[in-house]
């Protein structure tokens, strides 16, 4: 068990309670209620329909694909799918909110309670999901282009978001890290959200409260709005929890409020208090009928659900005898798991796992590449592993070959042939070679025979050196043992 994350002050220990509202952009060609494209990074205001810009008389029409994506995600979160849900209007004024309201789901979301299982160093932990609902994204206000005016880009206006609300089950920045990564992994497996935090496809409002260790009642929470990276979430929680503990220790009281995280100063700042909270005047959007579908509709979608990370992990452990740790690494990302499964199609599982999580990850890390951009194809890595397995090359030579492959995705079989790197496994040849080593080092032989057994390694090293690294180390060992008796 790892130590609980607790904040200590004046001999007292405080537990941190965290709940997340994750906003995940639905992976979809077009927006939630219009046919405008959703492509990231387009010229400002080029992906805006009359509906998105809220022209008079324009009406929203539900994009069924987004509904299916939300249902899929709900299934991936082991959640209750609600056959009837309602779109509401959340009313507030802002320059990048053209309608003057956001279409969201308030009392009747499309997805109800569910769970996400986290694999922590201390074991697994289940985090409750409160709900998932669909809503429109707003546009973007740009304050730093024109010195006098705020500019508005409506490309994002109307893009479908899933708001995934967790229960207050998270207890540390590390759990938040694992939770976000798990959520992202599930959605990537499902193809419902690309999880790209740099592009804002995944962001979160973080609710933080603290309480003395052992207390049942939750403390008053503060909501930190719109944090867009895991690192910032962790920093914000750390800062916010400590701020709250300081207040309590000074005999103060936490005010329920909405706060902003300043990434430059690494601190949270009050945005508005509960008294100033918006009255959003939610009411069912009269332009949209309640969203209803039957169980059969959900069943059809269920059939499209691929194997998810938890299932895949169990399978890897059972079928391939991998450790939970290895399995976890290999399933955490859909593309990694795909790569792994492609390699093991023709290769030894254990070796494959080691090479992928070892050499390949190091290479990708060094070059800052995703597995989908790997310079070494799964096919060629598989070939390399087979060369090791059948004794054609040693593990050491394999590393050299791997480096060559990293430069150019070439078949290792050809590299070995071209460079003459094939392992020397002919006992007669090796015997000759070893005899030469013994002859050249008679003084060391004497020392060895008089009891300095540590010198065995020296002879192995010499033999390998003479062979140019190509001698089969196992055979060298065996022959040397015989000859030095």
């Amino acid at each position: 068990m790892t130590k609980d994350y607790l904040i200590e002050r004046n001999g007292k220990k405080y537990e941190v309670v965290i709940g997340l509202e994750v906003h995940a952009q639905v992976l979809s060609e077009s927006k939630l209620f219009s046919t405008s494209p959703t492509k990231f990074g387009s010229e400002p205001n080029t992906q805006v329909s009359l509906v998105d810009a809220a022209f008079p008389g324009m009406l929203p029409v539900i994009n069924e694909f987004c509904i299916k994506q939300a249902i899929k995600t709900g299934i991936g979160l082991n959640a209750k799918i609600n056959n009837k849900s309602i779109f509401d209007r959340k009313n507030y004024f802002y320059a990048d909110l053209p309608q003057g309201y956001q279409i969201s789901q308030y009392k009747d979301p499309i997805v109800g309670e569910g769970t996400v299982v986290l694999d922590l160093a201390s074991g697994s932990k289940t985090i409750g999901i409160e709900r998932l609902h669909l809503e429109q994204d707003a546009g973007k206000s740009i304050h730093d282009i024109d010195p006098k005016n705020t500019l508005v880009d409506l490309n994002r206006s109307g893009v479908a978001l899933m708001e995934i609300v967790s229960k207050p089950d998270l207890r540390s920045p590390e759990e938040v890290n694992v939770y976000i990564k798990k959520l992202r992994s599930i959605m990537r497996y499902l193809g419902t959200c690309d999880g790209n935090m740099q592009e804002g496809s995944l962001r979160a409002d973080v609710n933080v409260s603290v309480r003395k260790q052992g207390e049942d009642k939750y403390g008053t929470r503060c909501e930190i709005k719109n944090v867009n990276s895991i690192k910032f979430m962790q920093m914000a929680i750390e800062h916010e929890a400590n701020r709250q503990v300081d207040i309590l220790e000074e005999g103060g009281k936490i005010d329920q409020e909405t706060r902003l995280f300043d990434t430059k100063k690494n601190e949270t700042r009050s945005m508005r208090s509960k008294e100033d909270a918006h009255d959003y005047r939610y009411f069912p959007d009269p332009d949209l009928l309640p969203l209803e579908f039957n169980d059969e509709y959900v069943e059809i979608i269920k059939k499209e659900i691929p194997e998810l990370p938890d299932q895949k992990k169990s399978r890897f452990i059972e079928k391939f005898n991998l450790s939970p740790y290895e399995a976890n690494i290999l399933v955490s990302d859909l593309d990694i798991s795909k790569y792994f499964e492609a390699v093991i199609e023709n290769s030894d599982v254990k070796l494959s796992s080691n090479w992928i999580t070892g050499e390949l990850f190091a290479l990708l890390n060094e070059k800052n590449l995703e597995i989908t951009e790997s310079p070494i194809s799964a096919k060629n890595l598989s070939n390399l592993i087979n060369l090791i397995k059948d004794g054609t090359i040693s593990g050491k030579i394999a590393k050299t070959v791997f480096e060559m492959m990293a430069e150019e995705d070439k078949n290792p079989i050809e590299i070995v042939k071209e460079k003459g790197l094939k392992q020397q496994s002919d006992p007669k040849e090796l015997e000759k070679l070893i005899e030469k080593v013994i002859n050249d080092n008679q003084d060391k032989v004497k020392e060895y025979k008089s009891g300095k057994e540590k010198l065995f390694g020296f002879f192995v090293g010499q033999a390998m050196k003479v062979s140019g690294g190509k001698a089969n180390p196992q055979l060298v060992n065996d022959i040397l043992k015989k000859k030095l008796k």
């Binding site: 008079p56 008389g57 009406l59 029409v61 009313n91 003057g100 009255d279």
Partner: protein, 486 residues
């Protein structure tokens, strides 16, 4: 042949189809008459030159299979018209030119109609007298100090004054039927979901419905046939098989059961209205229909319910008019200041009143007591109708509790103004079709209307009933053309 402007829509259509008249003959007559009728203040935007050009184009290659071949028509300025200024009679949209066309008007043009211009109405269709328009009040052709009703007051006035052979309006709480009743014309509010709301400036989304305003029932049937269509751009549009209303129009209503709801006999209703209603029953009996007394017990809650639901939706629907994207803007020191100044200057008093009522009833702490309760009562009102329609085929009521009132009479007393909608509002809350037909004159010589309410999507039935009553009533009303300015 009588004067072109005296011909009904259906008569014009057959004359054009028989090549007795050209589109240009008809259009130029209406353009001329409209030009001479500026005293009524019906037009906000005139597209006369474009109309004449289009009429000529039509005549060079007339497609006589169209249902409205080359028929000129002025329409309420709540319908967005491509490249033609659309204001909803509000300062806040004073400079707004849509790049798109509403589905209903597109249906008209697709069937051969030609836009004459955009007609005045109450601002954002909020009003019962056409006195809330930014472009000034509309005057009834009946008398120069009389309101035409509202919100489709410009449409009713233009229709009654024969500045357009027929027109279309929108009806959220009576905005087609009440002005029709005030001006001696026919106005039909279709079932919610019959005509697409796409491209119509929204007032209260769950109540708004476009409909025809015409000189007779046959014309209403023809126009509805063209207007009504399933539209996948409007999620509340209903996909049902639409009858050929004009072709199927029939005076055979023998055996039809007509309900007379006792709750519509309101306090202070004039004897004239009582008598009108009585006459209506007798006409129906003459046609072989059966009169049945019925009860709609929640009727008295309809008006308060309406004045919660409609403003609530309006307060949200009108949030988009914020000076940011289009329309009128007043500069401000910051965003909030700009909003406040723009909306203060851009909206008139009645619109502001309803935005405030709507914001209030949706506010946290008041939502349950007002909006939620109103929705529940709305359901009860709808249930009342559903129950009655187990027993009867249609319901007959007066259209309004009085005839047209004088300009300025009620404009300082919103509640008294709202009471004018008492017979029309329940129909919108229940989403049902209702038609007002002229049924007589009061002592002052002002028209009075009767309303026939039908089951959902049973427009054919209420059109048939109205058609037979029209025959019996034989409403004649000759206007003195005092407003014509040669």
């Amino acid at each position: 042949m009588s004067n072109i402007i005296d011909l009904s829509l259906s008569e014009l259509v057959s004359n054009i189809k028989n090549k007795k008249l050209s589109s240009y003959d008809v259009t130029s007559e209406y353009v001329e008459r409209s030009k001479k009728s500026k005293n009524l203040n019906t037009y906000i935007e005139e597209t006369f030159d474009a109309a004449l050009k289009k009429a000529k184009e039509f005549d060079t290659k007339p497609d006589l299979n169209k249902k409205l071949p080359g028929i000129p028509m002025a329409i309420k300025d709540l319908f967005c018209t491509k490249n033609v200024k659309t204001t909803a009679s509000s300062k806040i949209l004073n400079n707004f030119i849509p790049t798109y066309e509403s589905t209903v008007t597109q249906n008209l043009w697709n069937d051969g109609a030609i836009l004459l211009g955009k007609l005045n109405c109450d601002e954002f269709a909020m009003g019962s007298s056409n006195e809330t328009s930014y472009f000034g009040n509309v005057i009834s052709p009946i008398d120069k100090d009389l309101v035409p009703g509202g919100s489709s007051g410009g449409s009713a006035s233009a229709l009654a004054a024969k500045l357009t052979p027929a027109t279309i309006g929108t009806d959220t709480g009576g905005s087609i039927r009440q002005p029709a009743s005030f001006t001696g014309t026919v106005g039909l509010k279709p079932t919610y979901g019959s005509c697409s709301r796409y491209g119509i400036v929204a007032f209260a989304s769950s109540l708004d419905q476009a409909g025809p305003m015409t000189r007779n029932v046959n014309d209403a049937a023809l126009l509805l046939e063209v207007m009504s269509s399933f539209d996948n751009k409007d999620s509340t549009s209903v996909d049902f098989k639409r009858p050929m209303y004009s072709k199927d129009l029939s005076k055979d209503i023998k055996g039809k059961k007509i309900g007379i709801p006792k709750e519509y006999r309101v306090d202070g209703m004039s004897e004239e209205i009582e008598k009108l209603w009585e006459n209506g029953k007798n006409y129906l009996k003459d046609c072989g229909a059966e009169i049945i007394d019925v009860s709609l017990p929640h009727t008295k809650f309809a008006l308060p319910t309406y004045y919660i639901v409609a403003p609530a939706e309006a307060s949200s629907n009108l949030a988009r008019y914020d000076g940011v994207k289009y329309g009128f803007r007043t500069k401000g020191n910051n965003l909030i200041d700009m909003y406040e100044k723009t909306r203060s200057a851009g909206f008139g008093d009645e619109v502001k009143r309803r935005i405030m009522i709507g914001t209030y009833v949706l506010s946290s702490g008041y939502y349950d007591a007002y909006y939620l309760k109103a929705q529940k009562v709305r359901r009860l009102i709808k249930n009342d109708f559903n129950n009655i329609f187990q027993k009867v085929d249609a319901i007959l009521t007066p259209s309004t509790p009085s005839s047209a009132f004088k300009i300025g009479d009620k404009s300082n007393d919103p509640v008294s103004m709202y009471l004018n909608d008492i017979f029309t509002v329940p129909v919108n809350l229940a989403g049902l079709p209702g038609i007002s037909i002229p049924a007589g004159l009061d002592k002052k010589g002002y028209p009075l209307g009767l309303q026939i309410i039908g089951k959902s999507f049973d427009e054919q039935n209420i059109l048939n009933i109205a058609y037979s009553m029209e025959d019996k009533i034989n409403f004649k009303f000759n206007l003195k053309e005092w407003w014509i300015n040669d």
